[in-house]
């Protein structure tokens, strides 16, 4: 379920509840002369506005040696411009009762503020300023790159499953940039410098490489005038053309073992599949999404029902697929063995479930159930203004266009059992399989249940 929700969260479709007035809210699109795109989505339930600036840059734009640079730059975007001192960006937003943050993905870097609606101009002024006027002070960089390394230690180094996922990607891809972690390899972070960042910033941070998404209790044309006021003067620049870097064909299964201090084994399987932007057959990504949902959209799905409850071979099993990536993706499956079951047995059981998708058609009952969830999620997602903005920002930034959000519901509802079987047979191939296994290492220094030492206060 978590996967499905995650996927759907990124794809807010139009509502089937057309009688509901709110469902009529649509996206207003504007383009400034300097190439900056503006998308406005009204939601008048609360006097709040969400403002997001999306840049077409992320870890998949990076090359060997500078991995993680997009994310480090995202951190440095809070470290001052000619007008705003380091750290003051967030203080100024806080002073207005707002919240702000940012996130970096493989295919995008985005900055956002959430504010009481009348305060939108403050956020626009600050974002326009840091689109071009970042100072990148070396002394701030020196500290901040250490913060990022701590972040990497926290998220990856000390999390055995995250380490496994990182190794999985490193083995799954050969020449495609998805092989690199978003946060970057530690050695690349060690060797990054402020000049690298300056170049990266100059290349990618331009109005013609950005999309602004404003959602909430706003009037579209007024927002357009405000955005024009603050961003309209920023000149267009020459943004580099991204090389396609299409992944070389995989010509046999790949396996990687991760030995890390862990307690519980874990397995991940993946197959390379197309996404909205790359699919030759437009229906295929939707069929793949349906396929992943049949496996693990919720607790009534096959993994939970058969593997967790009936056979009790796994304590958890999940699948995931994101159709809104820039490059071809992986259809992922992961599981935790139940006590007494080996990783090999779990792999066997997972693959039996995948094979079943190839040989048997999915039942109408299962399809109907998933479609009901999709219809309902479409309504639930409207409860979050932030995610409404996020879904259109992401689709726009990966180049498929925000309009895909409106098509989602109909396309998913159109998926047939035959199509699910077709994509299973076409893509779940042994030759393009990637497997990663976490082998827990019983370490002499393994964690203890009870506190080890009690010493007198040292401070």
């Amino acid at each position: 379920m978590r996967n499905l929700i995650y996927l759907l969260v990124l794809l807010v479709p139009c509502s089937v509840f057309a009688k509901q007035p709110l469902a009529q809210s649509r996206v207003h699109e504007y383009m400034l002369d300097n190439g900056l795109k503006l998308l406005v989505k009204e939601d008048h339930r609360a006097p709040v506005v969400v403002s997001q600036v999306w840049y077409k840059v992320g870890s998949s734009y990076e090359h060997d040696g500078i991995t993680g640079i997009s994310h480090v730059l995202e951190h440095m975007m809070f470290k001052g411009t000619d007008k705003v001192k380091p750290g003051d960006f967030s203080k100024l937003i806080k002073e207005q009762g707002g919240r702000d943050n940012a996130f970096t993905g493989r295919d995008y870097t985005a900055y956002f503020q959430i504010l009481e609606k009348s305060r939108l101009p403050i956020s626009l002024e600050l974002e326009a300023d840091r689109m071009r006027n970042l100072t990148l002070p070396p002394e701030e960089f020196t500290k901040e790159v250490e913060v990022v390394k701590e972040e990497r230690r926290m998220r990856t180094e000390d999390d055995p499953r995250a380490l496994t996922y990182e190794q999985f990607n490193a083995v799954a891809y050969t020449n495609n940039p998805y092989k690199h972690p978003i946060i970057g390899w530690m050695n690349d972070l060690d060797n990054l410098n402020v000049d690298d960042l300056r170049k990266w910033y100059t290349h990618w941070y331009a109005p013609n490489n950005a999309t602004i998404v404003i959602a909430g209790d706003v009037e579209p044309h007024t927002v357009y005038e405000q955005v024009k006021k603050y961003f309209g003067q920023i000149p267009k620049s020459d943004v580099p053309t991204l090389k396609p870097r299409i992944e070389a064909d995989q010509i046999g299964p790949r396996r990687v073992t991760v030995r890390a201090p862990a307690q519980v084994p874990y397995i991940m399987l993946g197959y390379k599949v197309p996404v909205l932007r790359t699919a030759k057959e437009e229906w295929e990504p939707y069929a793949l999404e349906m396929l992943a949902s049949v496996l693990s959209a919720s607790r009534s799905s096959r993994f939970s029902k058969v593997l967790v409850r009936e056979k009790q071979i796994a304590t958890d099993a999940d699948s995931g697929y994101s159709m809104d990536s820039l490059h071809n993706e992986m259809l992922l499956v992961d599981a935790t063995p139940a006590p007494g079951k080996s990783v090999a047995e779990v792999e066997q059981a997972l693959r039996e479930q995948l094979d079943r998708l190839k040989t048997e058609k999915v039942s109408e009952e299962e399809l109907t159930r998933i479609k009901a969830q999709v219809i309902a999620n479409d309504v639930y997602q409207k409860d979050s203004v932030f995610y409404q903005a996020m879904s259109i920002g992401m689709l726009e930034t990966v180049g498929v266009g925000w309009q895909k959000a409106d098509e989602y519901l109909d396309k998913i509802r159109a998926v047939t059992a035959e199509q699910v079987q077709q994509v299973a047979n076409k893509y779940l191939l042994d030759d393009s399989l990637v497997v990663a296994v976490l082998e827990p290492q019983s370490d002499a220094k393994r964690p203890q249940h009870n506190p080890a030492i009690t010493i007198p206060p040292g401070h």
Partner: protein
Amino acid sequence: MLKNNKTILIFLFVIIAAVIYALSGEKTADQSDITEQGLTIQSWTGKEGNKVFYVPAPQLPMVDVRVVFDAGSARDGDKAGLASMTNLLLDHGAGDWNTDQIVERFDEVGAQFSTAALRDMAVLNLRTLTDAAWLKQSLDTLRTILQTPRFDEKELQREQQRVLVALRNQQESPSDIAELNFYEAVYSKQPYAIPPLGTKESVEAFTRDDVVNFYKQYYVARNAIVVIVGAVDRMQAEAMAEDLMAGLDGGQVAEALPEVQELTDATTIKNQHPSTQTHIWVGQPGITRTDPDYLPLYVGNHILGGSGFGSRVVTQIREDRGLAYSSYTYFSPMRRKGPFIMGLQTKNAQAEQALDVLMQTVKQFIADGPTDEEIVSAKNNITGGFALNLDSNKDITEYVAMIGFYGLPLDYLKTFNDRVNAVTREQIDDAFKRRVHPDKMVTVMVGDFDAKK
């Protein structure tokens, strides 16, 4: 799960934000069409003795129903994890339906159902569309789960195995270990010390009778509140709540938990773990939900380390020194005194230095108090963000459940900004001096102390 936390790196304080806004829970706001002053909560007592809290939200064709029992892990007694096991088994077979049928009944109508057991609360959450037939199927299923759970032996056995794996998984995570060690040390032998998931020994020992008895004692109407937020009118809400509670025993309100004992000495716990970072948790018993010092401590903590960038701890630890990605302080108010927690994680070699900076920062804050400028900023942030915190039905449900469960006044949110604005520098200074004692705190460090990097 596979990808949520890996394809996106949320830059600043995911953890802090969750902590500030979910645990300390000081979100206040209104929905524009409800009233400009704040959320109007309607409340009544059902025939079975349960309280009901209702907020109409007609804009989206959906409704959130949350049922909360005073049946969290603080009620486990000597069977750690029993509250959690009982809560999670509720939907594993009930009435005429087995687990498969129950989950299918929810999924067929696109309903989202989940349960959770925290230290104070045991929660059942339902989010469903208001289409009449779909709503009925969701509510019928929820009612059956609430009123006639089966607690089949084989379901118990399987879930025991799954919890045992989850417990081992916790032992992979230095922050999970630190949290468990922290609660155990701060609340030694008291209800909040109990690990909510239990221990290997306690979970293995559960019998069906344990679960059934726990259910019978605590899942009773007088020990419950029902929260309804969504596109249903008052009459529908009354009927829904009545229907959910009608088949439950009236029972009794759970007996009062004992008062929390204050710490008398400082304790440091070092727990060896093969990680690259040391996770540090420092703290003590803090405040109750209805604590008279709540607001001064809340506003003060906002300045100390409760609001990310610009707060003193984040400035000292992260912005000035680059020592940690996440650093924070917060009060987690509960029925009895929930903890005051300060935390960070840093590479092993820097652990002592970071701890030192953290302690110096809190000591100085207590000694000098906040500046007038800091107080103005904090109040601007808290009150200026009034509208942000209740801008979704999800948030409203969360707040109303908190208000209902802890018996806070129904106008709590409406008056919140005024009460924040009334907090003085002297009150903050006084409350921190009286209530926060760095010389009597528990310090937990989980990391690799042999690392020489």
